[in-house]
């Protein structure tokens, strides 16, 4: 990572932080490619391609119609240009919209039948062997005893879900965890009811595109009162060249349930940019809670800005019931371009939304990311903690909205965003929208290290801590807590990120 090595870092910036960013932004570890025979749909996007994707997934007629409707709407939509992002125009006809390993045409029955290259891919990505067997689509592997902590994984390779682990154990608890294509076939009543209910078909340009062409993704349903017995995880891997990945995730947490969901993603290193436009919809009913954690590690492009993933993602959680709770945690280190705003609609009374984000950009990376907190219910609470770190010639923007509707009485928001610049060629930006439409709600937006909670400060100072020390403890301590709560798969990244300090940061 030449850019940081040669950068004169200003006084006051913690060396550990610089090292951590250097490590995170160092050589991309997942840039290798699996050489595997693939089956592609023809390049470009037409009605026929939409039909073909639907056909490949054995979808019922209503789903095909749903996609075609989205495709028609997409044709009328304009690409948004309001983000602080500068990238060459994407040619949507110069992409493959469907790609799957040939060996996945028929589901392998035993380990021997699985394409060893596919096995090796997951091994190399660090997915435990036991799970690898299941990931590779081996039937019956679920019965083998699992060791250590259990994480059920749905692995998506380009356009298809390769396999989902622990399905049986989850089914015993009543939890449905499968690929979305399987859910469309097996649980049409749930999909019909919830798909597009949080992110409508024509929500935005990329979401509409996704609605037309999404090929796979994960589906989760947690029935009332069930605490999901293990963490659920989806691992997205883009492998094929010139292929866009359009995954769709739908999570439904019924009354009083709980689930923690993890998402990871990587892609090979290539000179040309690749498109990724995902949609994640989460429905949270009364007293239910969902935790959604992401480590986004798509290929960021090389140090000259060549290649990398264009990541346009629409993620939204709808807290429909009273006391529903959503927590988004995201660590954004990859992608050449990130356009992503995981949002919370706090519809239920006493509902709660939290957003914790660390976005690190280096070299030519650009990130425009943040959240929306839409307060509709009474006594709803939200909290936003965002850290943006920029190095090289990267640009990092926090863009967020906090909206208190007239009926959201006695609601509360606290927002804190901090940015850190490493070197004088990069940029850090903050674009918050604050809309308060009633007076019993309190909204606070802060972007300084010296303005942490006064009471906490007082508490620390009273015990003899210096001001800076106290601020560091409060703010970093909080972030660390979040990062350390990240699941095992993310432990490596998280540990590196914990070293990041806020010292020398700007609002």
């Amino acid at each position: 990572m030449a850019a940081i090595d040669q950068t004169q870092v200003k006084e006051g910036v913690d060396q550990e932080t610089v090292d951590a960013v250097r490590e995170v932004g160092g050589k991309y570890k997942y840039g290798w490619e699996t050489e595997i025979e693939m089956e592609y749909a023809p390049k470009g996007l037409t009605e026929d391609i939409v039909r073909l994707i639907s056909d490949k997934n054995d979808e019922p007629e209503w789903m095909t119609e749903w996609r075609l409707e989205a495709y028609k709407r997409w044709l009328t939509k304009e690409e948004p240009d309001w983000a602080m992002l500068d990238y060459p125009e994407v040619d949507f006809q110069d992409q493959y919209y469907y790609a799957r390993p040939k060996s996945m045409e028929e589901k392998p029955k035993s380990l021997d039948e699985v394409d060893p290259k596919l096995l090796a891919t997951y091994e190399k990505l660090g997915i435990p062997l036991k799970e690898q067997m299941i990931l590779a689509g081996v039937e019956g592997a679920e019965d083998a005893p699992a060791e250590g902590r259990k994480v059920a994984v749905d692995a998506v390779f380009d356009s298809v879900s390769v396999g989902t682990t622990f399905q049986k154990e989850l089914a015993d608890a009543g939890v449905i965890f499968c690929s979305i294509s399987e859910a469309i076939r097996e649980h049409p009543e749930l999909v019909k009811k919830y798909l597009g209910s949080v992110v409508p078909v024509s929500d935005n340009f990329y979401a509409t595109l996704n609605s037309a062409v999404f090929s796979d993704g994960s589906f989760v349903y947690v029935p009332p009162g069930v605490r999901c017995p293990m963490e659920l995880s989806t691992y997205f891997r883009i492998n094929a060249e010139n292929t866009g990945q359009f995954e769709r995730t739908l999570i439904i947490a019924d009354k009083g349930s709980y689930v923690s969901y993890l998402e990871g993603c990587t892609a090979p290193q290539r000179d040309t940019s690749q498109l990724h436009a995902a949609v994640v919809e989460i429905v949270i009913e009364e007293d239910a809670e969902v935790k959604y954690s992401t480590v986004q590690n798509w290929y960021p492009g090389d140090e000259n800005g060549k290649g990398g993933i264009y990541n346009f993602v629409t993620k939204r959680a709808d807290c429909r019931g009273d006391r529903a709770k959503i927590m988004w945690t995201q660590v954004e280190t990859g992608s050449a371009v990130t356009w992503k705003y995981p949002s919370c609609i706090l519809r239920g009374d006493d509902s709660q939304g939290e957003f914790y984000s660390i976005a690190i950009t280096n070299h030519h990376q650009q990130a425009d990311t943040g959240t929306k907190m839409i307060h509709l219910g009474k006594n709803s609470k939200s909290r936003i903690v965002s850290k943006g770190i920029s190095a090289g010639v990267a640009q990092n923007t926090y863009r967020g909205q906090v909206s208190m509707h007239p009926k959201a009485k006695n609601s509360r928001n606290y927002t804190q965003c901090d940015s850190l610049l490493i070197g004088d060629k990069c940029g850090a930006h903050t674009v918050p929208y604050i809309e308060v439409r009633n007076n019993s709600s309190r909204v606070e937006h802060e972007a300084t290290t010296s303005k942490v909670d006064d009471e906490q400060m007082f508490y620390c100072r009273q015990r003899g801590m210096g001001e800076e020390e106290a601020v560091a403890l409060i703010v970093n301590g909080f972030a660390k807590e979040v990062l350390q709560a990240l699941p095992m798969e993310f432990a490596m990244e998280a540990q590196q990120l914990v070293a990041i300090s806020l010292e020398g940061s700007v609002g």
């Binding site: 004088d424 930006h429 929208y433 604050i434 009633n438 019993s440 937006h445 700007v506």
Partner: protein, 428 residues
């Protein structure tokens, strides 16, 4: 047709039949350039990002909505001050009510006279600072002003002027639609205080371009009153040289719609720019502060302090930005916007932005919104202070941080007295 093309078409239709005022060579060139800018960007509409929270339609439509003149019986503002009065009635200079336009260390001319000349120094400022301020955010109503303004003052400050220049805007006609454009140039080391007050017209579009040379200081205190239906859009463009100072404070009460934009560019090292505002809104009141401060030099300081007290369905808007250009190291940027919502119907909409391209800077911003602190209110009431007076005390203490930005103590007291008078008149 896309949104931009539609906007431009609407603007072309709106401008049809309007011709640029006649003038000398420099003014004609400046006005033509401004008109071209306006035609290219189009008048604002609701879809524009920077008009998200404020409807521009009544500011752009052909006829000004009517506004009646309100008499509160208050003594005229700045009455006790030794000042040089320049009076405009419904946007037209009134020589009889004005003082003699001369003073030591400064030269004041009417824009109407200056624009008739073929050559004048004003060409280096008029429309120039406005043009600089059109990027990255377009301000079409300022371009409209530069193109069509015929009156205003052109002030050249050569020394330290102790007597403030007071621009007084009287409103007589219910249907007046006024455009004024002022140009102020401060030579190196010069100093000037400009006071502004009065409702001006039923609809008022005012621009002020201030060029502050090295070591010069410009102070600005403004009170926007009083007529309930009046509408106004104002722009202040400031260019700051090395070690120069620019300080502006605005108090706004009443008015159906007010949009105040301040666009400041710190081009010389060690410059200081402060913009502050306090507004009290009651009922059908919409107040918008849009501020854009660009740091383009080393070791500069900027502050934005805005406080809004809103009740009975009033709306307050704040859009503030600090842009730190590459190389503008050691920048100290501060921005705070706060609202006090006195009832359930009022609203506060804010977009406090930072855009930073230099690594050795301290920039911070904060924005809060909430109701009156019930505990503090209880404390006051427990000590025998009646509720309305206690509330007013808390309102005054809330806006104090903004009023304190005024350097001159007498002017600060004058503003506080206005605030108190307004609150008193509105007690239940």
């Amino acid at each position: 047709m896309n949104a931009v093309a539609k906007k431009i078409e609407a603007t072309t239709a709106r401008l049809e039949g309007m011709s640029l005022p006649a003038g000398g060579k420099w003014a004609t060139e400046a006005r033509e350039a401004a008109l071209t800018r306006l035609r290219t960007m189009g008048l604002p509409d609701r879809r524009d990002e920077y008009w998200k929270y404020t409807r521009p339609d009544t500011l752009t439509q052909t006829d000004a909505p009517e506004a009646s003149v309100l008499d509160t019986g208050e003594a005229p503002l700045f009455d006790g001050f030794d000042r040089l009065k320049v009076v405009f009635v419904d946007g037209v200079f009134d020589a009889e009510q004005s003082d003699d336009l001369s003073g030591e260390g400064l030269n004041i001319e009417r824009l109407a006279d200056v624009a008739a000349k073929d050559i004048h120094w004003a060409r280096d400022v008029y429309g120039v600072l406005e043009n600089n301020g059109q990027s990255p955010v377009e301000r079409p109503l300022a371009a409209l002003n530069s193109a069509f303004a015929t009156d205003g003052v052109v002030i050249h400050v050569t020394g330290k002027v102790s007597r403030p220049v007071n621009l007084i805007y009287r409103h007589k006609s219910d249907s007046s639609d006024a455009i004024l454009h002022h140009v102020i140039k401060l030579d190196a080391g010069a100093e000037l205080t400009v006071l502004e007050n009065g409702p001006a017209a039923a609809r008022f579009n005012k621009s002020m371009e201030v060029d502050v040379a090295d070591g010069a200081a410009f102070h600005h205190v403004r009170a926007q009153g009083r007529d309930h239906e009046r509408r106004a859009v104002t722009h202040i463009f400031g260019r700051l040289g090395t070690e120069s100072v620019f300080k502006s404070f605005t108090l706004t009460v009443n008015g159906r719609l007010t949009r105040n934009e301040a666009i400041l560019e710190l081009t010389g090292d060690d410059a200081v720019a402060h913009v502050a505002g306090a507004c009290l809104g009651d009922g059908d009141f919409h107040h918008d502060d849009t501020v854009f401060v660009t740091h383009d030099a080393v070791n500069c300081e900027s502050r934005q302090v805005f406080k809004k007290v809103l009740r009975n369905g009033a709306t307050g808007v704040f859009q503030g930005k600090i842009l730190v250009q590459p190389g503008a190291q050691k920048t100290d940027g501060y921005q705070i916007s706060q609202s006090l919502l006195l009832d359930e119907d009022s609203q506060f909409l804010a977009k406090p932005e930072l855009e930073i391209y230099a690594d050795d800077v301290a920039c911070s911003h904060g924005s809060t919104s909430g109701a009156i602190d019930e505990e503090a209110l209880f404390y006051l009431r427990a000590r025998g202070v009646p509720k309305d007076i206690a509330t007013d005390l808390m309102v005054l203490s809330f806006v104090a941080e903004a009023v304190d930005e005024i350097e001159n103590e007498d002017l600060r007291d004058e503003m506080l007295a206005r605030l108190e008078g307004w609150l008193e008149r509105r007690r239940d």
